[in-house]
């Protein structure tokens, strides 16, 4: 009974989405307020019914309703309740439903937090969100219904959730990632609305900015969680594999980073409009492309869902329709006239332009690397995949260039920056970075050009960011007063850039100074890694809720003193019969110690991988810093003032009121 109800609410939300896609838009074009007034209630209604459907599916999982095919394929009665809950998005159908729930949630958020926008804009933006929702609701109802029943042959028990996914990381990773992916639909909807209106002005950029920033922040957290999960769950201590699906999440992140920066220029200076609107479209298009790559089975990946040609074709149709129609609209409507605003050849505009060029180049690079095998296959060259060396040798130089420019760009001014002044301004930060880098290199022992460049860039970004904070916070009333006077969006930027420096430092150090050894060990034996002694003291067995684990006990000592005791496991899951390696990790801010139990070789000996991973936590901490910076930026006063003065100003004077706010902040 309940599953049918779930399907029914999905159909209802499709109806509401169809109305949302049409009615407010017609109202906006014909100028009828009565039609535009439907936008918000329809958005709310769509969200309520999608949420109901999601709740119904969750219920089916929690009560072990194996008559529902999706539940039978992805759950089992032995599964602990929290994994039953996260199994809701453990397969294609359910994760698609989560995707749609997020989309409906973002649509609702736009409806709620858009009191200050002109009615016409709200109607158009919500209508575009409605169109996207129609596409995905049709997709789920036609090709991937999560409520399909297995009647009358109800299986006695479920096939269980893939053991790889039975983990805390899976509970949080997909929702964060989808929040980011889907969040870019808001910036996309704003771009489309602005193109329809022909009003690509500063107000459009200002409204798009917080939505882009918050979506980007979620995506940053999602990617970091995914990388962390891969590190401890896939078992061998890597943190980024340049897997097509990882790349699929990196693509919109890179485009979104470029979009955030170019929106800033468009808002402040009114230039780069066509470029910014194109980026907004491309960023969302890349989110859709990522969804397609994961679900259509065109690429091999550890993450890919079961492939199904119908789904792939439907999704590609959806993707093609969205992207081709929006890019065609762009081609006809984007402004081509030269703006009157002038800026010098050395100015913040130019620095941000270079930032965009580099970010977009790196995005294209990853895109080419990801799709090259497909293109080659299309040309008849057979299937192959591009490995890490390609990305490492091409991506790293761009990342370093971005960092070096960032440090200089922070000090630059809008319109025109004096070259000599900038050079003098950069002298001290450059000197400090070089000294710090030299010290760090000596401390780590061993010089390589790549490690030097990476550490120098990271230090340079951090030092320049802090130096700029120091400059800006000087005040007659003392340092504390000066620090407090800075806006939250400025602190957001500082945190974001410091986060980037941390991530770069972590990535460089762990790639260049990490040590790993594969050894054959029997209980009682000892292996050495630097000044650390790893003693394999015993093997044992323990029972989990739905698995049996063999574990090894490793005592790690330095100079006879115990540093950590780790229990890496090999788990055998009962239902799917998969063997999972559960690494033993001693995490620390400066280094991780990592032990993974491999295959059993010989009677009592095991293949063991021991690793020393310096600064690896910085990778993910840096991403969290970046995300937190984004959240801080949208908590800025100028966005709140607009909310507070909501009651006083008539609804469609947003442009005017926006300018007032601009003058205030």
């Amino acid at each position: 009974m309940y599953p049918e109800l779930g399907q029914f609410t999905l159909i209802l939300s499709l109806l509401l989405a169809s109305l949302l896609a049409v009615v407010p838009l017609v109202g906006a074009i014909t100028g009828r307020d009565s039609l535009q007034a439907f936008a918000r209630p329809l958005a709310a209604g769509m969200f309520v019914f999608v949420a109901l459907a999601f709740a119904v599916l969750t219920h089916s999982f929690l009560v072990d309703d194996f008559s529902v095919a999706y539940v039978a394929n992805n759950s089992n009665s032995l599964l602990p309740w929290y994994y039953k809950f996260s199994a809701v998005w453990g397969g294609h159908e359910g994760s698609l439903l989560l995707w749609i729930l997020m989309l409906a949630g973002w649509t609702l958020a736009v409806a709620v937090f858009s009191r200050r926008l002109p009615t016409v804009m709200v109607s158009q933006v919500l209508s575009v969100m409605g169109m996207v929702s129609v596409g995905f609701l049709l997709f789920i109802l036609v090709t991937s219904n999560p409520f399909d029943r297995l009647l009358p042959n109800i299986p006695a028990d479920g096939a269980d959730l893939n053991p790889l996914l039975q983990d805390f990381g899976l509970i949080v990773h997909p929702p964060m990632l989808y929040m980011g992916y889907v969040g870019f639909s808001v910036a996309f909807a704003f771009a489309i609305a602005a193109l329809i209106n022909g009003r690509l002005d500063a107000a459009w950029a200002r409204w798009s900015r917080p939505w882009t920033t918050v979506a980007w922040s979620f995506l940053s957290v999602g990617i970091a969680l995914g990388s962390w999960w891969a590190y401890y769950e896939l078992g061998w201590g890597g943190w980024w594999f340049w897997d097509p699906v990882e790349n699929a999440s990196l693509l919109p992140w890179l485009a979104g980073t470029a979009l955030m920066h170019s929106l800033a220029v468009t808002e402040k200076r009114g230039v780069f409009k066509s470029w910014t609107v194109l980026l907004a479209i491309v960023t969302f298009a890349l989110s859709l492309l990522g969804t397609f790559l994961v679900r259509s089975g065109v690429l091999t990946s550890v993450h890919a869902f079961a492939s199904d040609p119908t789904r792939g074709a439907f999704l590609l149709g959806l993707l093609a329709f969205t992207i081709v129609s929006s890019l065609t609209l762009y081609a006809f409507r984007a402004p081509v006239v030269h703006t009157r605003v002038r800026y010098g050849s050395l100015s913040r505009e130019i620095f941000l332009l270079l930032n965009n060029v580099l970010l977009v180049s790196s995005m294209l690079l990853v895109l080419v690397g990801t799709l090259y095998p497909l293109v080659l296959d299309y040309m008849g060259g057979g299937r192959l995949s591009i490995g890490e060396p390609f990305y490492n040798t091409t991506f790293s130089p761009i990342a370093i260039a971005v960092g070096l420019l960032l440090g200089a760009g922070i000090f630059s001014r809008w319109k025109k920056t004096d070259g000599g002044w900038l050079g003098r301004r950069l002298l001290w930060p450059a000197a400090i970075s070089l000294i710090v880098t030299a010290v760090v290199m000596l401390g780590l022992g061993g010089f390589t050009p790549w490690a030097f460049a990476g550490v120098l860039t990271a230090t340079w970004v951090a030092v320049a960011t802090l130096a700029d904070l120091w400059d800006k916070s000087s005040s007659r009333h003392g340092r504390w007063h000066g620090l407090r006077r800075q806006s939250r969006s400025y602190y957001g930027m500082v945190l974001g850039h410091l986060g980037m420096a941390m991530t770069m430092a972590g990535a460089t150090v762990v790639s260049n100074y990490g040590v790993e050894r594969d050894v054959r060990m029997s209980p009682g034996e000892t292996a050495e890694l630097g000044d650390l002694r790893f003693t394999f003291s015993e093997v044992g067995e323990r029972q989990g809720p739905n698995f049996v684990a063999q574990y090894g006990r490793f005592d790690i000592t330095r100079d006879g003193k115990l540093v950590a005791t780790l229990y890496p496991e090999k788990r055998q899951y009962r239902v799917q019969r998969n063997v999972m390696t559960e690494a033993g990790i001693d995490a620390g801010l400066t280094r991780d110690l990592f032990v993974a139990l491999g295959e059993r070789v010989g009677d009592n000996a095991w293949a063991v991988r021991i690793q020393y991973k310096p600064l690896i936590r910085w990778l993910w901490l840096g991403s969290l810093f970046m995300a937190f910076g984004g959240f801080l930026a949208i908590a800025d006063r100028r966005y709140r003032i607009r909310e507070r003065s909501a009651g006083k100003v008539p609804a469609d004077s947003g442009k005017l009121e926006g300018d007032v706010v601009e003058a205030v902040s």
Binding site: A156, A159, L278, I281, F292, S296, S307, Y378
Partner: protein, 178 residues
Amino acid sequence: MRRVLLFIPVALAVALGIVLFAGIGKDPNRLESALIGKPVPAFELADLQNPDAVHHDNVFKGQVSLLNVWGTWCPACRDEHGDLVRLANVEGVRIIGLNYKDNRDAALQWLDRLGNPYALSLFDPQGKLGFDLGVYGAPETYVIDAEGIVRYRHVGVVNERVWLDVLQPLLQQYGGQG
């Protein structure tokens, strides 16, 4: 003229779309399309009941059979076991069992308790033949004709419906019996 440049993104998107469309349906992982119409991969596996006896791929010659991949660790296999016993005893289908990544004692106990539908049981603890066949997981059932050619692969449980709709017609087509 400048507006023409704005059409570049849409042109690129269309080109990419064509390539992606060509990629759909060509599953990079799947082996089954490659195996269908081809002989069963060569193998040499011990008999489940009699560890000293060894079977080769010629066990499929001469008569159309089903090859059923199963294991005691697989709940869905227990689910379909009753149907398999019925197929073997009532319909007279020749079923060859492939005991996949399993434990010999547990497997023998299972057959003792639930009945043995298999004309012959292959014991594949390391999943060698399973790997060559491209087995995703148990249960899977293959239709193999009298020449030892793989004709069909069924993933999942064999039940009354699957038998009537899919397997019986195939057995009749390839073996003239069923």
